[in-house]
Symmetry: D2
Subunit: 107 residues, 4 copies
């Protein structure tokens, strides 16, 4: 969870949907707490697993939203910047960073 | 999150590790809250994504533990019960249930 | 792809469905060849990706079938063997092996 | 596997690496054939599963390469086109298409 100080001035890709992301994460946090409650109440393992799958799916949806916001904001603005500076490496670096993040998602 | 009333009397596969599961889920809940904080503080999208991947991975580990506990307790005891009753369908039903749960994990 | 010599005498979990597995793998092989053809014909990257996802899904289905066969044959017969020998480690080893394989599937 | 006629004139994102992709797909095709041989020779289910996981992983790597090529070529050129035409919907459509494809990969 290292801070990305060098990016601090740019507006974030997800800025427009910030409230929606916070609401979704709040809901996911509640779902995780619900799973702990199920374990605490000795509920059936398969039912616990079903809930874990649901949370994993909800996290995937958040990831996908972040990837989309990242591509449409950060990558696209890097493309413009690269054109203005005549330096394609600016966009290449952003694309590589996005690809690495997607690779961690699909593992 | 439908309750599995019919299973209520059996001891759970994860019973022996209940405290360990609760600790792991508590930590995951904290990680989700940490992601919300990152979004709230406008941290860089790729750093947020990295954290989401970490939580997904932690949830996968919990799932895998539950699957292992389920097979070694519920499936194995169903195998014994099926032998005692001379009815292989008892274990088949448990195996099917486990497979369906694994299928939801690997999607 | 290390050979599992020590297992050579046991009947395989998938034995009953061998022909079905061979047919599914034949079809997957053809799908992979189809993807190569798409690349060779310079088809659109997103269409190629869609086909790669379809093959991945087909492989997941094969994996899930093998996991189910493994649990219902190898794990269940190890449970019986463990009971007969009074040695629970026999079934524990099989369950661990199955869990490791499932872990590689959900990554 | 619907053809994407409307894209037929554009050079493909993966064009530069076409030979590398064809070699990788050839190798994956051979791996799938190897799995069929393992099943045919009644090899141990866990060893078969290990090979299926290896092929799935190889396909993920191909997917990730295609996603990277798609973003760095198709999305970036759509960004330029959108700027030239003063129509942001051009790039939005490409980003949506890429996101949908990534969503199918992470499922």
């Amino acid at each position: 969870m290292e801070a990305a100080v060098e990016h601090a001035a740019e507006p974030r890709g997800y800025a427009g949907d910030k409230e929606a992301y916070l609401r979704r994460l709040k809901r996911i946090e509640g779902q995780v707490r619900g799973i702990a409650r199920m374990v605490d109440e000795d509920q059936y393992c398969i039912d616990v697993l079903t809930q874990v799958s649901a949370v994993t799916k909800a996290l995937h949806a958040v990831s996908l939203g972040l990837v989309q916001d990242h591509i449409s904001h950060c990558v696209v603005s890097a493309a413009r910047e690269a054109d203005a500076a005549g330096d394609p490496r600016i966009v290449d670096a952003k694309v590589q960073e996005a690809t690495d993040a997607i690779g961690r998602l699909i593992r």
